[in-house]
Symmetry: C2
Amino acid sequence: MRLAAFQQPGAATGRRAGLVVGEGPNWWVHPFPEGTDLIELLAADRDDREAAADTAARGDGLRPDQIRLLPPVYPVAMRDFLTFEQHVAGVGKGMQGHEFVPDEWYAAPSFLFMAPHAVTGGYDDVAIAPDTERFDYELELAAIVCRDVHNATTEQARAAIGGYCVMNDWSARDVQGREMKLGLGPSKGKDFATTIGPWVVTADELDDRRDADGFLDLRMTVKVNGEITGGDRSGHMGWTFEQMISYASRASWVKKGEVIASGTCGGGALAEAWGRTGELNPPPLRVGDVVEMTIERLGTIRNRIVARDDVVPPIVPARRLTRLEV
Amino acid sequence: MRLAAFQQPGAATGRRAGLVVGEGPNWWVHPFPEGTDLIELLAADRDDREAAADTAARGDGLRPDQIRLLPPVYPVAMRDFLTFEQHVAGVGKGMQGHEFVPDEWYAAPSFLFMAPHAVTGGYDDVAIAPDTERFDYELELAAIVCRDVHNATTEQARAAIGGYCVMNDWSARDVQGREMKLGLGPSKGKDFATTIGPWVVTADELDDRRDADGFLDLRMTVKVNGEITGGDRSGHMGWTFEQMISYASRASWVKKGEVIASGTCGGGALAEAWGRTGELNPPPLRVGDVVEMTIERLGTIRNRIVARDDVVPPIVPARRLTRLEV
């Protein structure tokens, strides 16, 4: 089942949840009753969700041109993992000068917390980040969490995953490179926009695409202006989403409404080519470019990069230390 | 004005907001009416907040032994900055082998997103992190955000700060050291507990402690088992909270209910001494230790470290890459 969040421009109602039907460009959305929460639908028993969908499907559908897709969730937190070995090796060469995967990568599924406020819908325009001449995309697979877990086994983690969607973790590589020298990871290099969508495909729909170790194996592709620029398979992840959530929940919490992202797949960022070749080829993204990401079974997100129309405040350097009496 | 969140063990009501009165150990809490939101009180006009406090103060007060202090906010996000030059230099020596502050530090107030789900109250016991033999504290000053801002000037940022509190960003240095080798910053090294409290002191109460550049200058002290182990002054920060929030909001959002933390002050972590001397002296924190942090005007948080009583799931290493057809 595919569940979308959307709004109808001009309608009195705000954010709504809907059932997506149809295939390819011929899809439409049947709204659930007002007040229906997408995360609650994901957490519901399968029979209850099916019954709600059957009821919704009997109502009128809305065509793509009648709605704007919204991010399926405004996350209570976002964890971005680093699970694709090929990406670690390629970007490592650009950032550190040599292509290698540290032993620490193999030991545990590392992640960082991302800006949770910057999510945008699957077809929304994205304003280019300020201060960057190396604007880039990151093709990722994301899971939507529908139950709180703490010290979860992989079985408990599996029950906490409501579904999956496509994610583009837009990145300003020059900004990110500067701030990563301080050891804290990226922040302003990525906190302006993260596209998730186009909708959530419930986890039960994908069981037939798990391999013998339980890894979801879906083809992932990215195009810029219609040309394929990269791609991979999610079966190349070093850990399953269940293992990632179990790890994240160790002595901690993963909560309903969180987004758990795979990290960039192999070939899923221009920076990987820049790192390997030392040249900006393909060139950084520019205003007017259209980035399109497709994950098999999950759908396509497509975003045009537009100029910023806002005024960002100036960056102030540090006041240098003058010793005060402690 | 001091505003606390608390619960009364055994009472039918849950989380409540209260007005703190009294001094030193002789303090008590006058509850606001049920349903009063602490962040809304911070965002209210000063006159309205004073009127609400006057009404609350006419009711009965609760003594410390009648309540449990809760974190003043369950954050919608937490940003932890790195604003104390001395801490950067000291920890840098331990992590990278040499004491220096990179140029990038001076250029902009860098930060990371922290685990938002792990906040604990000002006097709560803290379970030691799993897998660590280098358990440590971090003494920080934190601001509570009461208004959403986007591309904020420092003046707009100032209006978005509701108040301040003390923060202990508990850290497992060995875990953190391993994961920071991957460039993403710390995550499992810090996601098990963050103490904030004991309450929020409204920003207007601290105007007399700003220096000529607008920096809050408050004495900060940490003790382990009653002995002073470190301290600094918040006037040693490289940026004001207004500058930090303005920077964080550039092309992004800082939202009501966020916690914005200063980063560790100079001498505010055992790791700083470990980095400078190469020896684990003072020793890492152990079960039974009591860590007490005081910031002038804001109060004291005091936490006993206890053994874990939960079972954490195993850590699974990566499945090595076997090339699949893309």
